[in-house]
Assembly symmetry: C2
Homo-oligomer: 236 residues x 2
């Protein structure tokens, strides 16, 4: 399992969790980062390859008062790939309640709400997010070590209060795999990472995941697989 090609790994996840179904209208949350950009490119490649269920896809970029705007180079790539792109503006700071400071949780909640509302308004039944294997395992570690809870961002999640299903097609792909792909495709330098603040909790979790797995894909996959291979008789 050394260095598998990104799209092959995404194909596997999409099949495993039935992420694409006949007639799906999928909205991709496009942050301008490498992960969601690779995800948009993947969906485009599936439309070209024309295998599996028929579906349609569009990308929504939530621009905000914090964080950098979408690089025009990326917008041009989306157009080239034939994926419609819409940009919505959200005043994340302006929505803060008086006396509250900006933080990652607030920003992501605002953006997620906007994404959900747009999807429902425009008739999308699925929202595809760019969270990858490392994100999922980091969240697992944070939830276990801070909340004492075994949970993370699942590959597929049906909301109780929204008629949309969340899918995470990058759930089996790790960062090095995505970076290699985005570098080879020539768009890595156009992608951005939020620089508003260092999310120290996640940074620490990234270091812990590295210590746990040595950064090796095989061990990350074992850890991920363990989450659906739970032996209750051998747990407290």
């Amino acid at each position: 399992m050394a260095n598998p090609a990104l799209f092959r790994v995404i194909d596997h996840a999409v099949e495993k969790y039935a992420m694409i179904e006949e007639g799906d209208r999928i909205l991709v949350g496009a942050s301008g980062g490498k992960d969601s950009t690779a995800l948009v490119e993947y969906f485009a490649s599936r439309l070209i390859r024309r295998f599996g269920p028929r579906f349609s896809v569009a990308a929504l970029h939530i621009a905000s008062d914090i964080g950098s705007p979408l690089d025009p180079v990326l917008a041009a790539r989306f157009a080239e790939w034939g994926i419609p792109l819409v940009t919505e503006h959200v005043d994340v700071t302006g929505r803060l309640k008086p006396g509250k400071k900006m933080n990652c949780w607030w920003c992501s909640t605002q953006r997620r709400t906007e994404l959900n509302n747009y999807a429902m308004r425009e008739g999308f039944n699925k929202i595809a997010l760019g969270h990858h294997l490392d994100d999922i395992l980091e969240t697992l570690l944070m939830n276990a070590l801070v909340k004492g809870e075994l949970s993370t961002m699942p590959p597929r999640l049906t909301y109780e209060k929204y008629p949309v299903t969340i899918i995470r097609p990058l759930c089996l792909a790790d960062i090095p795999m995505i970076v290699r792909h985005a570098t080879a495709q020539g768009y890595i330098s156009s992608t951005c990472t939020c620089s508003f603040q260092d999310n120290s909790g996640r940074k620490k979790a990234r270091g812990k995941l590295e210590a746990l797995t040595g950064g090796r894909y095989a061990e990350k996959r074992k850890l991920f697989d363990a989450l659906s291979n739970i032996k209750s008789a051998y747990l407290p």
Copy 2:
């Protein structure tokens, strides 16, 4: 939860997992290490404190051709604590099949079988083992990262093929807590650790647990608690 006293932590585990029940005949596997010695001392203290269900307890030391013999100082302490001690000899190396090399798995299986057989022959209904919180979390990490399985040594386990129940009263106690106790009680220097080979898998797991929790008891406990707080909807 900084530096709680060992016996208070064991009391909590014993109650939480109903480890001691009316009329129990408990056999402690006494390796000669600090963990099972502290466990023997704990049971002795409960007999003196006379609270909770009535039970009896004895210790079995499995001596083998590898590893050091039980320090006479410990045998004297057991006697002082009023806990009967029996020693059985097992030729662990002699039981190896031709061409096989000694390893931790083989040795522990042989000793465990002997412990089970002795318990059944002598009418014990419970076997108490000295595995502690760090052991349990290390096994968790090894099972997850190597076997892709979420499992470990549970605090209480009913065997399918033997009429004995395994209990691990140290399941909520970590190494520093046990070392502090054994040092204060003056027997740490009489206890031994198997020096037959470096069990590199477990050593690596110990390092990983350290990286994950910073060696902090509170984080170890969160991780342990997460194992009985599984949110299936938020897992793959």
